[in-house]
Amino acid sequence: MKALALLATLITGSILLYGTMDFPAWGDPQDPAAVYLSPYYIENAVRETHVPNLVTAILGDYRGYDTMFETVVIYCAGMVVVSVLRRSKNDRPENKT
């Protein structure tokens, strides 16, 4: 079972690594994000949202969906830690005979 899990992890990892080979080079000025997306944000974000801080405008408005699920992920992490670790007074080990 462990060997199977390792195999699955290795295969998934190598597929993901293979996928990154199609990415544009780091900092390439001709990659689509730098050609279309960044100039659009820089030129239009302040006019469209009236937020001088571009990072906030992108994080809260253009990428609001991303930020929402970031919050949900943090929320879920907190709930999981509480549900795993929190002990009510009744089920402490020393109270169990």
Partner: protein, 159 residues
């Protein structure tokens, strides 16, 4: 855990008048700074995540300087849970309200139907609402993570 407790009791690291007084003085300012970071995210670096962490750290400071039980009197578990859930609901609720008002999900300009500020101003204000929600959720989760990890889930004196 037991070893650590014995060691701290021997060195008397738990109770220190200097630390308690300085924490007592610092906490209001730390919280004010956290609120400032949240609401000033439009104009300077910052926003919900950073401000929420700063707000949460003020309660972590209280739990470290005093013991965790007495810090729970200032911020109860119940209040913490309510704040965290409110934060998450604010974010999702604002997004859903946009969809109900006839726009796309999280398209704040649709909220112009409710209070006519103008679509552009609503996009600015919608970001603010969302940041407040993020701040509350992050603060509550930070604090509850510290409480649960620091006291092994027993909510006793803790570290």
């Amino acid at each position: 855990m037991k070893l650590l407790r014995e060691r701290t009791e021997k060195q008397r690291l738990g109770e220190s008048l200097i630390i308690q007084t300085s924490v007592r003085l610092m906490v209001p300012f730390v919280q004010l700074f956290g609120l400032y970071v949240i609401v000033h995210g439009h104009y300077s670096p910052g926003g919900g995540f950073q401000g929420g962490v700063i707000l949460g750290s003020s309660f972590v400071m209280l739990a470290l300087a005093f013991d965790q039980k007495s810090s729970l009197r200032l911020m109860s578990e119940r209040a913490n849970a309510i704040l965290g859930n409110t934060g998450a609901i604010i974010f999702v609720g604002v997004g859903a309200l946009c969809a109900i008002c006839g726009g796309l999900f999280l398209d704040y300009s649709a909220l112009d139907v409710l209070i006519p500020l103008g679509p552009v101003e609503w996009r600015s204000f919608g970001i603010f609402l969302v940041e407040v929600g993020v701040g509350l959720a992050v603060m509550s989760i930070m604090v509850s993570l510290f409480w649960d990890l620091g006291s092994a889930g027993k909510m006793d004196e803790g570290l």
